[in-house]
Amino acid sequence: MDLSTTNFIGDLVREYSPYSWVASIVNGVIAIVAIMAVGVGPSPMLIWWERKVAAFTQARLGPMRVGPWGLLQTVCDVIKLLFKELITPHGADKLLFFLAPALPLTGSFLVLAVIPWDHNLQVANPGMGVPFIIAVSSLGILGTLLAGWSSNNKFSLLGALRCGAQMISYEVSLSLIMLFVVLMSGSADVREIVLSQQGNVTDWWIIKAPFLGIAAFVMYMISATAELNRGPFDMSEAEQELTAGFHTEYSSTAFAMFFLAEYINMVATSALASVFFLGGFLPFAFPDFGFAPIVGVVASINGALAILPGFFWMAGKILFLITLFMFFRWTYPRPRVDQLMSLEWKFLLPANLILLGLGAVFIAFGLILP
């Protein structure tokens, strides 16, 4: 049985139910619950982890009071946020004001839907997965823009405008890097991209495409940080300049939604990075370079590593990348908004185009590692 195309639950329901729509509904509900769980579930932990990373880099301890090592701090914060008053500023466009927080969440949930978490653990696998990701991840911009526009606040508006310019620009290079991976693996299907990296570490695209892979990965991380609107590229919030940017006027649940969207976005972006460059759900495996004395040892170690299910490998890679994002945020100062734009249009975009061209040349001349 080819596991990769199995819809186990759907088949099960179809077997017992006379109506075909029952299977669709059951499938849909399970999918939504799963995405919610994957997206929302780890967010409190990530917020806690972020605070700990920040604290430890700053020679502090971070949250320590609620629960062991402050683990329950985020839970308390969420409860506090939910019970606060939802304030609508005077002169705000009410419909847009409350529509705005929902959009970034929608975008990131849709991205999460096409990410393969294991060999047969994926909500949907459209054949054109990468273009789908590029399309739906733009939804987040809309939310930010609406939030800034409807708040009737100049700081919010400035933040939203910055955010719009920034995210649209960086989407270009992000898409180009995705195209590079598509070019390398020869498929726009997300699962196919992962499976094209089967083997050991040297088969991951970050290494398999010599030099280009690592360059693409670095540029992906830069663009993704900008796309996520996180420090050092948090132009749209820019605490020291715009107080809180586009969500200056948001409180309570609406603010929590923006906050949550940031972390879910981070999960989605890191998941994509791991799919594109780090072999997705494939286990970590040492290469043996065909060196006879170590072949046996390496094989047994790799066998042991492969016992862990793909989901854990995926989660581990995501956590690693998220921690990397956090280190960026807590180390680097923020460039000015025009410098960020010139970084994209004068630096990253030409570099991406060159990368794409070189990728084609590498493939044509067979320079990709076997």
Binding site: D93, K154, F155, P333
Partner: protein, 382 residues
């Protein structure tokens, strides 16, 4: 949504932009993360570009100068802690020097050495804070904490020395309040090592950082002429190429016996204003090392009095604080209370050219300029 026509803030002229754009105003502050207190900057913006910037003051005016008229000279000293709270010792020193000048009290040698050591420690702590804020205001929050981290050690020394971390009230006319504890010299030696390590860390984290350089080089240039014309002092003046330092040019206390340089920079941009603080800290360390070697035994205060009666007249004494020249002008009539006291605060003069400096730059640069001017609002309003 109906647009409400409001009268323009005073001092502004509305210039209609081209291609149907409209300039607008933003109140940066009085509650704003980057204005270091309750400073209100009214910005006239064209998009993100600053066309005009006018600082509005007075949000933390406490009437310290008026209050001084109802307090004795000795009591006034502790009020100056609350002006520039990062350089409390230096403010105290200025008042004490004015009183000493008027009454003619000498200061014992040991007291002078203690004073200079404390002053230089205070200068280092203030500069460290400036580094932290510089990093923090440019978005590198971690740098803020690193600045505070080392400053904490110095405030703890002050705590042990005089019993308070911020509002020290340690200087008295004719000396200092109490002798240094036995641990003081050893702790200062340790702080010197620590601060040098921190400077090296800041070099790696901030000075060498390409983003910081991009954001501060050529931003908010204050020319030599402007700096002099606006009466800027301290690091702001020296970063614009004027080697003027009261410690060298009008030596007070025992600064003429000590060997140190006055660092200057030529460009007068934000980066120079930041880097000059590093050089100043290195000079302060030199002074501290000399003081540690030279400090004599002896009394720490000449004969103390419960209150001081100044002969009628006016007296002025100025010190070079971490921010610039802090002067105290006392007009005395008979009695133990001043008729009027005026403080010449360095921060007020240093803030004045901000409108000229940020013109044509972007909002983010306003933040850079504020933080490199190293201003402190309680000192401006008093």
């Amino acid at each position: 949504m109906e647009m409400v026509k409001r009268p323009l803030p005073a001092g502004f002229q509305k210039v209609s932009g081209d291609d149907n754009t409209e300039e607008y105003f933003i109140n940066m502050g009085p509650q704003h993360p980057a204005t270091h207190g309750v400073l209100r900057l009214v910005l006239r913006l064209d998009g993100e570009t600053v066309r005009e910037c006018v600082p509005h003051l007075g949000y933390i005016h406490r009437g310290i100068e008026k209050q001084a008229e109802s307090e004795t000279y000795l009591q006034y000293v502790h009020l100056t802690d609350r002006m520039d709270y990062l350089t409390s010792h230096m403010n105290n020193h200025s008042v004490c020097m004015a009183i000493e000048k008027a009454v003619g009290i000498g200061v014992p040698d040991r007291a002078e050495y203690i004073r200079v050591m404390v002053l230089e420690l205070n200068r280092i702590s203030s500069h460290l804070m400036m580094f932290g804020c510089f990093g923090g205001d440019l978005g590198a929050q971690t740098a803020l904490l690193y600045g505070f981290k080392e400053r904490e050690v110095i405030t703890d020394i002050f705590d042990e020395l005089c019993g308070a971390r911020l509002t020290m009230n340690y200087f008295r006319p004719g000396g200092v309040a109490n002798d240094i504890p036995d641990t003081f010299i050893a702790r200062v030696k340790k702080v010197i090592v620590d601060v040098e390590r921190t400077l090296e860390e800041f070099d790696r984290l901030i000075t060498g950082n390409v983003i910081i350089q991009e954001r501060s080089r050529g931003i908010g240039i204050l020319t030599r002429e402007d700096a002099i014309a606006y009466g800027c002092t301290g690091c702001v003046l020296r970063a614009s190429g004027v080697p003027y330092d009261l410690r060298k040019d009008d030596p007070y206390s025992i600064y003429d016996r000590l060997d140190f340089d006055v660092p200057t920079k030529q460009n007068g941009d934000s980066f120079d204003r930041y880097v000059i603080h590093i050089d100043e800290i290195r000079q302060s360390i030199r002074i501290l090392q000399q003081c540690i070697e030279q400090i004599p035994e002896g009394p720490y205060r000449s004969k103390e009095k419960p209150s001081y009666r100044l002969p009628a007249g006016s007296y002025y004494a100025a010190t070079e604080t971490a921010k610039g020249i802090f002067g105290t002008y006392v007009v005395a009539e008979k009695g133990d209370k001043p008729w009027r006291i005026h403080s010449r605060s360095p921060n007020f003069a240093n803030l004045s050219p901000i409108g000229k400096m940020v013109k044509g730059h972007m909002i983010a640069d306003v933040v850079t300029v504020i933080t490199t001017l190293d201003i402190l609002i309680p000192d401006i309003d008093r």
